[in-house]
Structure formats: structure tokens, C-alpha cells
């Protein structure tokens, strides 16, 4: 079986992002990029699935982005994936534009099982997996924390508000992965050296329209410094008053 993992290359959550001059994109200077953390669960689950069902299956990493995205593909190859495909695109696309190109590639590779992170921590739209499934007519199970795959059937446990849901589905399917599903392996030193010999195929991403457009980006307002009203119980009435009238939390 061919297994696709869609991987995105995103700013590390610890980096301080700045808004670019156009006011609607991130200034890439000084930003450290990493593989999207949720996609690491996706890669791990794909590798585990391959290990379980046998060696003739293949794990293919598919990424849409500019040249620098190859770093994340390399990392996934070093973890053990078999090959990578970079769909080259230097401009920012919306989720639909990205999903369209990924879906085309998944179709032409003939992948029956697709793993995506449940969201990408850059734009946080949480929608790529669902769009791919819709475009390809695959079933889709999102926010998965446990998964078993048997021949043509899968059973997944997914997180829902306040509980868990067990879902069964046929293949082909798209799974979006959540923290807790597995413990992603490190890229071992040997893995890194073997990855050197694996191929990353590069091709232009197929054209697509964007359905949405970013008009403006804002940074969240900076936190105001705290205020000390007093250090003994005489401050309590004032505190309650402010919590009610100013903060409006009571």
C-alpha cells in the first residue's frame, strides 16, 4: 500500500514572528522553521503502519512550499519515510489552494491512506485533511488519538468535546493526527545518512484558485503589566470591585 503523509514547514512556535511590510504576511527574516509538530505524529503513524503491514508498502512525504520546505521533508525521510515530493510554490496559498495541489499529487501517486497533522501551527485552519478527503472522495477521520488498521478497514479513536468517539471506516481514507496518538521517533544518525540517498522529487504545484484572501494581519495586543492593589485583606473590596467593573469576570 502507498501511504501519503502531508507535511508542512512552519515557524517554530517559540520564534517571535513579525508581520512583513505588506501587512498581510509573516516577515521570514530571523524565523526558525520546523516540521509542523502535528505532522510528526502523522509521519510516525505512517511508519508504524508500514512496519505493521509489511515492507512492500511505501511512505511518501508530500509538501507544498518553497525550497526551504525540503528541510522538513529531509527530516521525515531521516525518520524512515521512503521518498519525498516537493510541490514548489513560492507564494502563499489558502487552504483550498494547498489541498487541491496535495490531492492531485496523492491521486497520481495512488495513495490509499493519507495522514495529515490535525492542524498546521502556522495558519491554524485545521482543514487540509478534510479538504483532501472531499476532493478525492475518501473518508476522513479527524483528531485521531488511537488507530488500528486491518486490511481494508480502520478503527480510530478521536477526541471530541468532553470525551472520545470510536469510529470505523473503510479505506481509502484520510486521518488527521492529534498529540497522544504516538511518540514520534527521533531521526537517528543512521537514518539521517540513509536519507541522503533518498530522492526528493520536485515539481511545480498544480495551479489552483484561492477561495479566501488574507487582508491584514495583527499581532495580539501586548499584555498589560499587573497592578498591585495592596498586600493584605484591606485590598479585597477594591479587587472584587475591579474584577466586576473593569475586568467584567464576576
Amino acid at each position: 500500500m502507498k501511504i501519503a503523509v502531508c507535511v508542512s514547514h512552519v515557524p517554530d512556535t517559540a520564534t517571535k514572528v513579525k508581520i512583513g511590510e505588506d501587512g498581510k504576511s509573516i516577515d521570514p527574516n530571523g524565523v526558525t522553521y520546523v516540521i509542523n509538530p502535528y505532522d510528526e505524529y502523522a509521519v510516525e503513524e505512517a511508519l508504524k503502519t508500514k512496519e505493521k503491514i509489511g515492507d512492500d508498502s511505501e511512505v511518501i512525504i508530500i509538501t507544498l512550499g518553497s525550497d526551504i520546505s525540503k528541510e522538513s521533508i529531509r527530516k521525515a525521510l531521516a525518520m524512515g519515510a521512503d521518498k519525498g515530493v516537493l510541490l514548489k510554490e513560492d507564494n502563499q496559498r489558502d487552504s483550498f489552494g494547498i489541498a487541491k495541489a496535495l490531492a492531485e499529487e496523492i491521486k497520481s501517486q495512488g495513495c490509499e491512506l493519507v495522514f495529515c497533522g490535525k492542524q498546521s501551527v502556522d495558519y491554524d485552519n485545521s482543514i487540509i485533511g478534510q479538504l483532501i478527503a472531499e476532493l478525492l472522495g475518501y473518508s476522513c477521520v479527524t483528531v485521531v488519538v488511537e488507530l488500528t488498521i486491518d486490511v481494508n478497514k480502520l478503527t480510530a479513536e478521536r477526541e471530541i468535546e468532553g470525551g472520545k468517539e470510536i469510529v470505523e471506516s473503510e479505506l481509502p481514507a484520510v486521518i488527521t493526527t492529534q498529540k497522544g496518538l504516538n511518540e514520534p521517533r527521533y531521526a537517528s544518525l543512521k537514518g539521517i545518512m540513509t536519507a541522503k540517498k533518498k530522492t526528493i522529487e520536485e515539481k511545480p504545484a498544480v495551479d489552483s484558485i484561492n477561495l479566501t484572501e488574507v487582508l491584514r494581519m495583527h499581532l495580539p495586543p501586548s499584555k498589560q503589566t499587573g497592578r498591585i492593589l495592596g498586600t493584605d485583606k484591606s485590598a479585597v473590596p477594591e479587587l472584587v470591585k475591579l474584577l466586576r467593573e473593569e475586568a467584567k469576570v464576576l
Binding site: P37, K75, A78, Y186, A187, S188, L189, K190, I192, M193
Partner: protein, 389 residues
Amino acid sequence: MNMFEGADYFDVESLLSEEEVLIRNSVREFVSKEIIPVIETHYRNGTFPIELVPKMAELGLLGITFPEKYSCANLNYVSYGLINQELERGDSGIRSFVSVQSSLVMYPIFVFGSDEQKNKWLPLLGKGEKIGCFGLTEPDYGSNPGGMLTKAEKVDGGFHLNGAKMWITNGTIADVAVVWAKLGGAVRGFLVEKEFKGFSAPEMKGKHSLRASVTSELIFDNVFIPEENLLPKTEGLKNALMCLNQARYSIAWGVVGSMMTCYDTALSYAKTRIQFSKPIAAYQLTQDKLVYMISEITKAQLLNLQLGRLKDKGNAKHYQVSLAKRNNCEKALEMAHISREILGANGITDEYPVMRHAANLESVKTYEGTHEMHTLIIGENITGISAFE
């Protein structure tokens, strides 16, 4: 995820290959996720996190420069340096474990061992299924190991070993000890296995430094060593010194990891700690300290990288290794002290890593040749006159 970003003021990363960067990043992530969260507790309790050994082995960190046929990664010395740098960012004790296993146990078996010894031990040590230690120092012979008293005597089918070693990293947890002893006047290397009768390795207690590392005595009371456990290609003290040269190389890189975390901690503390209504980073005295730190880190990084490139070409000289070990350990200890100062009272607590690094680096400056001995090695090389022999 909060990836440690290191300190790279001169874009030294651009001098590394793509694989070297990936290797460094993978170990960096490992250190952040597996070592940092547990190290303070182990340090306080005086225990070595032995549960990390299989994980480090799986990552491929043990004996990385040795060939694939021994289940090793067959990587270059710059990569070896980088993994040591990252590990010591976590703790000098963890880095010591890897240095000893790779440079002081696997290396002598690889270079001075028979094919049988190599085939038996290297894969086991590389996979972390067996742990090794290196016994050279004795209670009365530290800087001058040539005076050692531990002796081997030829008997039927092997040797009898008598004597004692001291300050031996990994001793108590080791399955095999590479022990240096005099056989008819010449220093030879022996593989002493844990279960050999008459061999014991009690742990040394009371350390204020390298507390997350095991340090032991090795006691040999008429231990019978079979013939096949002599390292056949050893012929004198210089062979033991060749091993030390390998380990010193790993230390020169390792301590840069300590420097980076001490600098990183001091810098972010100085930017957020307000005194006299300003962050302490706003004062010239603090800036002077921080600038000194980043300058020394940058110099040490460039020194290491050039040393590594020389070593990969087979051209690194022992006195160049001494210079890097000597300089970097001294500076690392100084960085830890400066960082501690910048943190004020907070600097002495285990909320921050700097006091632990400062305490560790006291050992690191002393073992594998003290600061003074490296001065004398370089002094001998540049003047042609030995001040110690």
C-alpha cells in the same frame, strides 16, 4: 516545541554540511525532550539516568565514528563533536558517558583489539547492550600515569591482575573495563569483564561535581584474565594516551554546549530582570559580561570546527587537541561563573542550569589531563623542551 537555538554569532552553521546540521538538530531535540526534564532530579539524587542508554543507542550516539559492520553510524569527527556539544548542553555527565563509551572503550578495542574482540564487543557497546569504562588513573598516579602500580603477571592461559584504579567513569555500571597495567615493564591494555573473580568496582560517593555520572574505584585482587582478553596491539603508555586524545577532542566540543546554555540563560535573565527600574542587561557592566561570553563562545566554536576538519583529514596533532581542550574548558568554567553572577541569587538554585554546569566543569577541566598538563604539553611542543619528563 521550544527548540533550543544555540548561540551562533558568526553563522558557523553555514560551514556545516546539511547532514551535520540535521544530526546536530536531532540530538538537540533529544536533549531538550529526554535529558533536560530529568537531569536536575538525577543530579540532586546523585544518580546516572541509565534509562537513557537504550534511547541514546537507538539514536546512534554510541561509537558514531566506527564502521557500519559493527552496527555503528560511520560518521565523521565533526559530527562526533557536534553530538558531544549538544549532549553537554544537557549535562557533562551524560556527555562523559558517551565520550567514555565511544572514545575510551570502543576506540581502543577498534584500534588495538583482535578481530574476535572487535566482532564481539563493538556491536554490543554500540547498541548500548553493554557498558564500558576506562581505567588508567590510580590513587597515587594521576597526571603521571606512567608510574602506575597495577600489574599483570603471565600465568598459564592468561594473566593475573593486581592493583587498583580510581576516579573511573562508569566503573560500577560497566560490563567491561579497558584496564591499563604493566606487564613485564610495558603498559598493556586488558579487557576485564564484570564477572571475573576478584574484580570489584565500588562507586565513589561525596562528589559535588558530575553527580549525574557514575565514578568508581576498580579493585583487582589476583583477577585471572584469559589470554584472549589482552588487547594484542597495545605496546606502551602511548596507546592509552591515544585514547585520551580522542576523548579530549570530544570534551573540547562538549563544553561549548555548556557555554551556550550558560550564555542563553544569562542573556534572557538579564533582559527580563529589572533593577533600578531597568533590565540589568541595560547596564554596561552586564553588557561587558555578555559580550565577553559570546566572543569566547564564537572563538571556541571556530577552534573546534577547524580541529574537527583537521581530524577528518587525519591531520589533527595531539597538541592541537590539547589547545582546544585546555582553552575551551577554562572558558566554559569562566562562562558558568559569569552566568551565575548575572543571575544573582537565582544563579545558585536548580531552577537554572548554571550552577550545575559550573560544578560539573570543575571535573571536566581536571580529567583527561588537567589544565596545567595541557599547558605543559603545548609548552613542550612550541619550545621543544619538556617541563614534566
